[in-house]
C-alpha cells in the first residue's frame, strides 16, 4: 500500500468524491491556491477561493447544501469556527428539524486543531465537543491518513452536516492508504489493540499516545485495549461498553479541555451503562482549563503523554489487585 500524509489523503478523498458526484464542490480561504490539482481537474467553479469571512463561507455552504449541492468547506483552524457558529449550529444543525424535515444539509466542514505548530490558542483549540453537544451535527476526527480518507468519503456522502477535524500534529505524517475506494462508516470505532485488563479510549493524535502507553503497559504485564473513536457523533457506544464490560477499567484520553469534553461524555456513558462491570474509578486525561500557549514546552505539556496514560492505567490495575 502506498504511503501518503493525512493532507494528501484528504486530497485523494476530495478527488475521488468530486469525480463520482458532480454536485460536490469545495471552497475556502486559499483552497484553490493550495489544492491547485483540484482546480486543474474540476475547474474554477467547483474549487473556489473565497473572501476572508468564515461566516459567509459557512452560510453559503449551508444554503448550497439545502439547495441540492454537496459543499466541502475548509475553515482552516478550529478557533475560526467561532465566526461560523451561527451558520453551523443555528442553520445547518437546526433548519432540517425546525422545517419539519423539508431540507437536508449534506455539508462537510474541515478544520485543523491541536498541538504541533506552536501557534498558540487562537489556532490550537480543540472544540469538537461543542458540536457533539449541538443537535443535528456529526463530528469526525481521524487519527491516520487511511481513516481520514475513508471517513471523509463517508462524510461527503452523508446527508447531514459533518464537522471534520484534522489534528495538526498528524497532518504531515505519512501512513499507508489503500488505493481502493474504501468508505468508512461514521459511528464505528476501531479497536486498534486488543487487551483484557484496561480500556484506553481516545481519538486524534492521542490514539498514538495510547498505543505507546499500551506498549509500556504490555511490558509490565498489563494488556490494554485501545479504542480509536474516529467518529465522536454518532459515537460507537456499543464498542466502548463492550470493551469496558470486558476489562472493567477505563481511561479516556484527549487533548481537548477536560471540562465537558468528549471524555466526560464517555465516562458518564460508562458510569451509567456499564457500572456493574467497573472495577475501578474512571480516569479522564485531557487538557487543563487553560488556553494553549505557543511556547513549545508548554504546548507539549498540554497534551496527555504516553507516560501519564500508562501510569494512570497501571494505578487502576493495581488498585483492583490491592
Amino acid at each position: 500500500m502506498p504511503a501518503m500524509t493525512l493532507y494528501d489523503a484528504v486530497g485523494a478523498a476530495l478527488t475521488e468524491e468530486m469525480r463520482r458526484d458532480r454536485s460536490v464542490l469545495v471552497f475556502g480561504e486559499g483552497i484553490a491556491t493550495k489544492r491547485h490539482d483540484l482546480v486543474d481537474e474540476f475547474g474554477a467553479l467547483r474549487v473556489r477561493n473565497t473572501p476572508l469571512a468564515e461566516g459567509i463561507i459557512a452560510g453559503t455552504a449551508v444554503g448550497a447544501a439545502g439547495s441540492g449541492l454537496r459543499p466541502v468547506i475548509d475553515l482552516l483552524f478550529a478557533p475560526f469556527l467561532c465566526y461560523a457558529m451561527d451558520e453551523l449550529v443555528n442553520s445547518a444543525g437546526k433548519l432540517r428539524y425546525m422545517s419539519g424535515g423539508q431540507f437536508s444539509f449534506p455539508l462537510v466542514t474541515l478544520a485543523m486543531t491541536g498541538a504541533g505548530w506552536g501557534v498558540g490558542a487562537q489556532h490550537n483549540h480543540n472544540v469538537e465537543a461543542w458540536f457533539v453537544h449541538s443537535p443535528g451535527l456529526k463530528v469526525v476526527m481521524p487519527s491516520n491518513p487511511a481513516d481520514a480518507k475513508g471517513l471523509l468519503k463517508a462524510a461527503i456522502r452523508d446527508d447531514n452536516p459533518v464537522l471534520f477535524f484534522i489534528d495538526i500534529g498528524l497532518l504531515h505524517q505519512p501512513g499507508e492508504v489503500g488505493n481502493d475506494e474504501l468508505v468508512l462508516p461514521l459511528g464505528k470505532a476501531s479497536i486498534v489493540r486488543e487487551g483484557r485488563d484496561v480500556t484506553l479510549v481516545s481519538y486524534g493524535k492521542t490514539v498514538h499516545h495510547c498505543q505507546q502507553a499500551a506498549e509500556m503497559l504490555g511490558s509490565r504485564g498489563i494488556a490494554a485495549e485501545v479504542i480509536d473513536l474516529r467518529s465522536l457523533k454518532p459515537l460507537d457506544e456499543a464498542s466502548i461498553l463492550a470493551s469496558v464490560r470486558k476489562t472493567g477499567r477505563l481511561v479516556v484520553v484527549h487533548e481537548a479541555n477536560r471540562l465537558c469534553g468528549v471524555g466526560a461524555e464517555i465516562a458518564a456513558l460508562v458510569a451509567e451503562e456499564a457500572f456493574a462491570a467497573l472495577k475501578a474509578p474512571i480516569v479522564r486525561l485531557g487538557g487543563p482549563d487553560a488556553p494553549v500557549a505557543a511556547s513549545y514546552p508548554l504546548e507539549q505539556a498540554f497534551v496527555p503523554q504516553p507516560e501519564a496514560i500508562s501510569a494512570a492505567a497501571e494505578r487502576l490495575c493495581h488498585r483492583q489487585a490491592a
Binding site: L25, A58, G63, L69, D86, G101, P135
Partner: protein, 320 residues
C-alpha cells in the same frame, strides 16, 4: 389607474393585502386571548410584501425571516396551514416545530427561513450558487430588515454576491424599527441602499407603502437580476405599525411618527386610488372583504381542530 403589468390586477393585490391584515389581526386577537403564542406581525408593511412577491416568477426562490406572513400569503401559502404552524399543530407547514418565527414552505419556493437576524443574508449566496451550478433559471429573493443590515453578515453577503455574480435580489424592508430600537439609534445612515453602492451593487429605495410603486420597482429589479445574473438591492421604506412581537405596549414609540405613517396606510392608499380611478365599486369591496373573512374563518377552524404533534416527533427529522 391601470395595472402596471398586463397580467396583474391591482384589485388582486388589494385583496392579498387585506388577507394579510386579517390574518395578522386574527393572530393578535387569538394570542391576546391566550389561545396561542404571539407573533411578529407585518401590519403596515403589506404593500412591501405584496409588491415584491407579485413581481416574481414561480421558479424564483424566497428567503424570509421572523416577520414572514406577508411574504408567505402573497406567495400563495394556505392561511390554515400557517395558523396551524403558529399554534404548533402537526398540520402546520413545519409540523408545528417552527411556530411562527421560521416558517419555510419548500413547495412554494420559500426556503431556509431562519429567525436569526442576519441568517437569511448568510444563506442566500449558497442558494443562488446552487441555482447557478445546477443551471436553474429562478433568481433568489432575500428579504431582510434594517436591523439585519447592521449584522456583519450583510457585508459578507453583499461582498460575496458581487464578487461571484450571484443572482440575488436583496430586499431590505426598512420599517424604522429593530425590535425596541429605532433605526436611528442603530444605523450610521438612514438608508440601507446607501450601503449597497459601495459593493458595486445597484440599489434603489422605494416608498414601501405604495403597492404599485413597490411592484414596479421590484419588477424592474428582478428583471435586472434575471438578465445580468448579478445582485441588486431594493429598499422598501415602510413602517411597523404594531409592536415588535405580540403583545407589545409600544410605550417606547414616537406617536407622531407612527401617526404620520398610519396616515399612509398601504391598504387605504391602494383602495382610495382604486376607488378614485373607478376600479373598485362598493359591491366589489364587500365581496373582497367577505372572501377574506371567510378564508380566515376557515383557516382558523382548520388550525384549531388540528392535533398537536405526537410525542415521538420529539426526535424525528433531526438527522437525514
Amino acid at each position: 389607474m391601470a395595472p402596471i403589468h398586463p397580467e396583474i390586477d391591482l384589485c388582486h393585490l388589494l385583496e392579498q393585502m387585506q388577507l394579510i391584515r386579517a390574518y395578522e389581526e386574527a393572530i393578535v386577537t387569538g394570542s391576546a386571548a391566550g389561545k396561542f403564542p404571539g407573533t411578529c406581525t407585518s401590519v403596515g408593511q403589506e404593500a412591501a410584501a405584496v409588491g415584491v412577491v407579485n413581481a416574481l416568477s414561480g421558479d424564483d426562490l424566497i428567503l424570509t425571516n421572523h416577520r414572514s406572513a406577508g411574504h408567505l400569503l402573497a406567495r400563495g401559502a394556505d392561511p390554515g396551514r400557517l395558523l396551524a404552524e403558529v399554534m404548533g399543530r402537526s398540520s402546520g407547514y413545519c409540523k408545528g416545530r417552527s411556530g411562527s418565527l421560521h416558517i419555510s414552505v419548500k413547495e412554494l419556493g420559500v426556503v431556509l427561513t431562519s429567525t436569526i437576524v442576519g441568517a437569511e443574508l448568510s444563506l442566500a449566496p449558497g442558494v443562488a450558487l446552487a441555482q447557478n451550478m445546477l443551471e436553474r433559471a429562478g433568481i433568489v429573493v432575500c428579504f431582510f430588515g434594517d436591523g439585519a443590515a447592521c449584522e456583519g453578515s450583510f457585508h459578507e453577503s453583499l461582498n460575496l454576491a458581487a464578487l461571484w455574480n450571484l443572482p440575488i435580489l436583496y430586499v431590505c424592508e426598512n420599517n424604522q424599527w429593530q425590535a425596541f430600537v429605532h433605526r436611528r439609534e442603530a444605523m450610521s445612515r438612514d438608508h440601507v441602499a446607501d450601503w449597497a453602492a459601495s459593493y458595486g451593487i445597484p440599489a434603489r429605495t422605494v416608498d414601501g407603502n405604495d403597492v404599485t410603486a413597490v411592484l414596479a420597482a421590484a419588477q424592474a429589479a428582478a428583471g435586472k437580476v434575471r438578465e445580468s445574473r448579478r445582485p441588486y438591492l431594493l429598499e422598501t421604506y415602510t413602517y411597523r405599525t404594531r409592536g415588535h412581537f405580540e403583545p407589545d405596549d409600544q410605550a417606547y414609540i414616537d406617536q407622531a411618527e407612527r401617526q404620520s405613517w398610519l396616515n399612509r396606510d398601504p391598504i387605504a392608499l391602494c383602495r382610495d386610488r382604486l376607488v378614485a380611478d373607478g376600479c373598485l365599486s362598493p359591491g366589489k369591496q364587500t365581496e373582497i372583504a367577505d372572501r377574506v373573512a371567510q378564508r380566515i374563518a376557515t383557516a382558523m377552524a382548520f388550525a384549531e381542530s388540528s392535533p398537536f404533534p405526537a410525542a415521538d416527533e420529539l426526535t424525528r427529522d433531526v438527522y437525514a
